[in-house]
């Protein structure tokens, strides 16, 4: 697939994007779940894993793709 190419990282922070400050969401895949504390470990596009609040999304399962903003899943990605 021919794709739009990504730009070089920002010279200041080393990132091309600030997903927390911007009203942006990152697609992440659920790796594991801990219902007792309402958190999931999710893996992002870059392979990094982090804890994600899942209280706003119904019935999350391992392997689901979620849209994550500022550490909180705000939607499930569906076609």
């Amino acid at each position: 697939m021919t794709a739009f190419s990504a730009p070089a990282p920002d010279t200041v922070c080393g990132s091309t994007h600030c997903i927390t400050c911007g009203d942006d969401g990152a697609p992440m895949i659920v790796v594991s779940l801990d219902w007792a504390i309402g958190l999931a470990v999710c893996r992002g596009e870059d392979g990094d894993e982090s804890s994600v609040e899942i209280a706003l999304v119904e019935s999350v399962a391992v392997g689901d793709e979620l849209l994550v903003h500022a550490g909180t899943a705000i939607a499930r990605l569906t076609r």
Partner: protein
């Protein structure tokens, strides 16, 4: 990656650009505002503006949460950060926003314990790990981010964490849009609606735009094809004489929004009577503060803050950029006195800010495939 790659396909981008070209009337100038800073970022990042005919102009709106924070609010944050025993936490971009006497980053260099976090949950973790310290989270952002702060506050209360508080600077999207639509110096033909704010609030809150002001809206995702498709939808509405809120981002945005998020926000926050926006002034009911029920977690009640209004630097034209009256490069200090390394105005700070986005991606030759 699924949901991402297919929305960056250059072939489809070319096809949509052709569709846009076929929809525009020669001799007519179209001015569309992309409300969200995330869209501004994507437009410059992927060169979406280069695919548009000369008579389709994109105007950058006020939807960058960092860019709308006034200097006085930064001063308030720094004042809290300087209290004894305080660990002050905030998102990365917020660190570099200039206040009247420097930024949070400079306050950190001067000795204040200021730490960058990626989420309010990170701030809560710091509070948990430092029970002898007061941990304050500087909460900024639109309705996309506010639920995250609200859930964290509920968690703090549930855990009985008494050393955690929030300096709430969350804002809401509809009041500034209404203010812009009332502005006599801005003529717009349509809006590219904010994708992730709409994930939370849904499409309904934007219905006043076609109903009261006769302008089409297309809520869009953040990939280049999303933005191009939204422009097609707006142009089709104009061609057909229709005027409504359409949803290009249905894969994420439900019409009614995220009801759980709206519920938790209603529980934790209440509207401020007015809130100051950089460049737009005070706008009624446009900011959130903690409800009385969560007053114990309100940093502004726990610590004294100056709360002084500070005028923007004279040379800075962020206000006009935020209103879409001028383009970033038309500002007197763009790229000279004001750069991402040494920003004067907030629009040059955040990667979502129109000035920084243009500076980073537009000023220098883009090495991308010709589309």
């Amino acid at each position: 990656m699924k949901f991402v790659d297919e929305f960056r396909d250059a072939e489809l981008g070319r096809a949509l650009a052709g569709e846009i070209l076929s929809l525009v009337e020669p001799g007519r100038h179209y001015k569309f505002m992309e409300v969200c800073g995330g869209h501004t970022h994507s437009i410059y990042k992927y060169g979406v503006d280069d695919l548009l005919p000369a008579n389709v102009e994109l105007v950058h709106g006020p939807g960058c949460p960092v860019c709308v924070i006034p200097m006085g609010r930064v001063d308030d944050g720094i004042a809290v950060a300087h209290h004894d025993g305080v660990i002050f936490t905030c998102f990365g971009d917020m660190m570099r926003v200039p206040g009247s006497e420097g930024s949070l980053l400079e306050a950190k260099a001067a000795g204040a314990d200021i730490r960058m976090v990626y989420s309010p949950l990170d701030a809560l973790r710091i509070a948990r790990d430092n029970p002898e310290r007061e941990v304050v989270f500087f909460a900024i952002g639109f309705e996309t981010t506010a639920p995250s702060t609200a859930l964290t506050l509920k968690r703090a209360r549930m855990e009985g964490l008494r050393n955690f508080s929030v300096m709430c600077s969350h804002v809401t999207i509809v009041p500034p849009l209404r203010a812009l639509l009332e502005s006599p110096d801005l003529r717009l033909d349509g809006f590219i609606g904010p994708g992730h704010v709409s994930t939370i609030v849904g499409a309904r809150p934007f219905e006043f735009i076609p109903a009261d002001y006769g302008k089409p809206v297309a809520i869009a995702g953040f990939e280049p094809l999303d933005i191009l498709q939204a422009i097609v939808m707006i142009l089709e509405q104009l061609r057909d004489g229709r005027c409504e809120v359409e949803n290009e981002y249905k894969r994420v945005v439900p019409y009614e929004g995220n009801l759980k998020a709206l519920e938790v926000m209603a529980e934790v926050f209440e509207l401020r009577p007015h809130f100051e926006w950089r460049g737009l002034g005070f706008i009624s009911h446009s900011g959130l503060r903690l409800s009385d029920d969560y007053a114990d977690f309100d940093a502004e009640r726990r610590f004294s803050v100056p709360g002084v209004r500070v005028a923007d630097p004279k040379a800075c034209q962020c206000g006009e950029v935020l209103k879409g009256v001028i383009k970033p490069w038309e500002c007197k200090v763009f790229g000279t006195g004001c750069t991402p390394e040494r920003p004067i105005g907030t629009c040059m700070v955040s990667s979502e800010g129109a000035c920084a986005a243009y500076y980073n991606y537009g000023r220098f030759a883009r090495e991308r495939e010709v589309v």
